[in-house]
Symmetry: D2
């Protein structure tokens, strides 16, 4: 089958790889009709991780079931399913408490596995014609009758919509509150959408790309352009000098200033300053314990210079980490189905698999207009 | 009246100051019979804060009411009361949500006020014969009939017992869990007591002072001596290599290694390593936004080098800040009254006010046996 | 001053009563510009309570401060304030945990006091030119600069908007969920508004009055007419036979069938049947421990025949009771100010105080078009 | 194999039934070494349910794995396992939120399945030599190396220890609180143990059997003998007339007065009266939607006469239903393993399977000394 394969820093190829197939009786095999390029793919694409050459990308996957193992009871051939990026077992101490991003089974020695991801187990990604989904009954989310028609919405259930939602959960966003979100990439925009759905009174989103800031505005949220001045001061001006009730980090360790210099601590320290005393911060932007190719000596060790005294003095709290997709994907699916939300508003491109190399280039360069790309490996009638 | 007054780095004097008196109709005036020296007094004592010469120390206070303002309805002359270290108004946006450590009224421009504390408002402390308590109906906790007899227990309600409890609340300690606490000073010991009361299965406490480690053992908790080897490795060995479910920081920015060198980030980074994936950390040790006298350039700015990549990768969360004493002091009082806990087990000295200068010296030097000092300004028949 | 006074079953008069005035140094005196007639006033109006002749009605009050006691620090003369229906002290064991509807101080021997309410203390109501507010700093909620202009919205903060919100809190309504609300009176409509703000996916409201059902529809919620068939069956049809995730009771003990017969257990048993296994029910409709004038022998004792076996079998849970207004009124105020909600959409009449007797008659008769009445005792320039 | 079979009201037999065996690739087959008689077995034993003749009893099971299906990955032959009474799938909307007592898969048309239970699916019980466990990886809880030695403790993990714990969770028992528990049968005693572990300050347990009240006392809890006077008055006297903070119902619909007359509403109404304003009540005693053999006309329909006006007026809340065993059994297992709790303190008899008929008789008669019976179908070397 054809798949998007990593070939070294800033190089992906579409090539033939061995067919995905049922390997265990609990497996499900899915024909992939929509699979996104994610911002976290770019860390691997840029060679900033241990992702091995030859591995297949793709952890935001949706498609139709074509085969099931003989121990699969719920999922049936023909079902349309959205597949969480986390590969999880369903029966370990973490999975049974919904901490599926920290499954203790699927990536022994670590907590948490994912499709097509550095350091998260051997699982091939879904930027390919077919994907094997382990523990299919547990991992596959069945979609309703409008699955095919709304697949650009439902595919967001595999990662970024739950991840944006998770940012607002980690930050404990409550109805009527004020929220500041750093980053208006796909995850930041999903966090803004989530905060809005939850009844936040004021949603501010910091970025500098005009196309992204325009999408912020389309949600009824407040765009803050950090190339025009300190985002902290802009937030303070909008909150009577008090700061936002809650903050979300949706950028990660490669955050950089408007001049393009990386500062892994930039958004975190800005959040501490932008959020009120007793406020809470949710961090879903990726940070890594080791980053050997970082330009910064601290960065190589995964360390940052953190404004901890202020953080403590303000009595703030912080939640972090990858999203447990299954914790949220049912309720978000039902909201899509009911027409309450339409996360596909961020999609800029729907293209065939063979155009992936070009798309990676544009997305990595944050080229204007390339906000979110859906690859369509298999066309459906 | 006599009071313990700050006279510059490492110097306190007992001298005459103007009598405390009712200034507002909502005030209560308390004759102080027990008032502790706290570890956080030592930051001021050592000259590491902006605490002004001439100010009166003392934020852990208990005594008997001698006069009330004409708008005081609940508190009566003769009542025995424990007084939270936080001075709070009871009607601001934070107080009404029990965030009394972040009162927006009593220290304008900041959030939170305290008796006898640097940067926390003009309120004189209670290491004196009398103390004026603003908003007395709100701030004073009435004590039951055994108040006088058990005052060595009840005085702990003013700060360290609630603060230790707060550490375990911030860390979300649940029954049956494993907890590691850094610091076996008075607050760390109260955190250990709290975790035990809450049904923690395994409570480990890291320190190096033999007298403190012995008190840890007296609680049925596990003492970990970090002068004998890496505390992280000792915790890992005790938890099958998984790490503790929860962690508490009860040391603060002046944490130092067994050789005596200060490392403000030491306990925090050790906690990240000692606590499991998805675990939660509560930090009640004091960290400050500015520390001009720090030996360390980052420290001067209140910054630390934080192992953030690992923190995020493990999906941990963290709660911080001063304790909202009123959130817990009723339930803790009732437990003392019922004989379920006896926080006075840490008390090493009960002495008269005039011996305060000597006591400060010993406590600051962590001299063996000086675990907790109660000053008794006014003797009661 | 003029006030609306109870004169026996189904009879109110507007007459002169002694002027409200400052009695305690913590009091605030408010000139009332908006005061609503509430559904719970009707229980008293109809003579179904122990409300004494001569007492002044009115617990939904808003106005401008004209005088403050000398212990009042926050509230200033000239402030516009919304006043919770609960009269609470701010310093008892319940108030300090935000349970202001169960204040232990203001109605000794009971828990909870209110303005102008049977069995809830001696406090005169605000359907009058002036109102004395005890513990003014604690009880008065200050309003922003648009207070006067938006007073038809802000006055809802005194009771029904927080009470409707409370119904959804007691029911633990989460974003993306399905909710059924029994009763489309003012409180039920506020519950529907609240559920919508919180991101509920599907909000169903049961009633039979066409004017109310039209207001339901105006919120984007689903009106269910129980005079057209079983509301339980209608809910089941709308939820694939599963039932709603959450249910709210906004009717109370005088619930009656479309034929007009009272059945105090009707809405509760319907809720048990309409809500799914493991669902949760919030009950803010008033139920009373004694109802001597009930037509029903059980009702006289405050008892109902409850479908408990089904409730337990479904593993449902239930929260009840009067609303702690202060728990919610700040965040709801901020949402009104930000233009996120406009609770005045239910108001049908704004009239002067002397028209109160006529308004009571129409409102009690549920006359078409009389959805919510605001009395305006004092006109403001 | 031999099994305990229902043969009509008050009659069980030990007889040969077809061997349990692996039927699905996800099944696990367990040799049963300990299986308890439960109070809820008695409802079936007495003929008060639709339990069919010929069915095998037993939902509190522990044993050693003898065979696993080819899709079972975690559980291995030789593992000692405790088996929750709930039979659950692990992948439905309820199971994935830990609501395993309300599994939507295993008992179609209802929510929730159990081994050997009326109306809860076709699953044979474990009062037999072998038991088939569906979805073995999800349902079996592995036990540590002391499994065999401590099996009288660990077998309590299958039902009554988690169920007693659940009562205290539904009632939201917090450290330092006061709790009243109605019923000192095995579940009530486990609730008392749970409240104690959680740091409750005062645990009161109502019953009238001297052997049970003695066990209450052995926990350091307060026995209340309701044959000596009103339990409500006794609770009030012990709580300064305020009532307990929390209440637990551990009796169920067959509750009867000291004279032996059944009153399905008795414990519930007593709880409403015994628990304070704003208190919370957890109900794990079994109530049924239909009880055709009830002596009481309301009881036949599963209805009770409930003191609802008082419940609402006090602003109480209530949680109900069967226990989701998997939510708690890991943490409780770890506490047993660490020696923090010893739930076997209630065991009065350990006997071979053939003595089951006699044991049922004594247990059903509440004969003195028959507090808890463990059957041992297979002896282990």
């Amino acid at each position: 089958m054809k798949a998007v394969v990593y070939n070294g820093p800033r190089e992906v190829m579409v090539k033939e790889v061995p067919d995905a197939k049922i390997e265990r009786p609990t497996d499900v095999l899915v024909k992939i009709t929509s699979t996104n390029i994610c911002g976290s793919d770019l860390h691997m694409y840029e060679g900033r991780t241990s992702f091995e050459k030859g591995r297949v990308f793709g952890h935001e996957n949706l498609g139709q079931v074509v085969e099931v193992g003989n121990a699969v009871d719920k999922i049936k051939v023909g079902d349309w399913v959205a597949i969480p990026f986390n590969v999880s077992c369903g029966h370990c101490a973490n999975c049974e408490r919904q901490l599926t991003a920290f499954c203790l089974t699927m990536n022994p020695g670590m907590a948490g596995a994912a499709f097509g991801f550095a350091d998260m187990g051997p699982y091939p990604g879904g930027q390919a014609e077919y994907l094997r989904v382990p523990y299919g009954d547990f991992n596959c989310l069945r979609l309703p009758e409008d699955a095919q028609e709304k697949q650009a919405d439902y595919v967001m259930l595999s990662d970024i919509f739950p991840t944006g939602w998770h940012a607002t959960e980690l930050a404990c966003v409550q109805p009527g509150e004020s929220v500041v979100i750093y980053g208006a990439g796909p995850v930041g925009l999903m966090a803004a959408l989530s905060a809005t759905v939850k009844g936040a009174r004021q949603v501010m989103v910091v970025d500098r790309h005009p196309d992204r800031l325009k999408l912020v505005e389309s949600l009824g949220a407040i765009p803050i352009d950090d190339s025009k001045g300190s985002p902290v001061e802009q937030v303070m001006a909008l909150t009577n000098g008090i700061g936002a009730d809650r903050g979300c980090e949706c950028v990660g360790y490669q955050s950089h200033d408007p001049q393009g210099h990386e500062h892994p601590n930039m958004t975190l320290n800005d959040l501490v300053k932008s959020v009120k005393f007793t406020g809470r911060i949710g961090v879903v932007g990726v940070f890594v314990p080791k980053d050997p190719n970082s330009p910064d000596p601290l960065g190589k060790k995964g360390e940052i210079t953190f404004d901890y005294g202020l953080f403590w003095n303000k009595g703030q709290s912080m939640g972090t980490g990858q999203c447990n997709v299954k914790t949220y994907n049912r309720q978000l699916r039902d909201m899509i189905h009911a027409g309450r939300v339409k996360p596909s508003f961020i999609v800029s491109h729907k293209i065939t698999l063979d155009k992936a190399p070009d798309a990676y280039k544009h997305f990595d360069a944050r080229d204007s207009g390339w906000t979110k790309v859906i690859l369509q490996p298999v066309a459906v009638a």
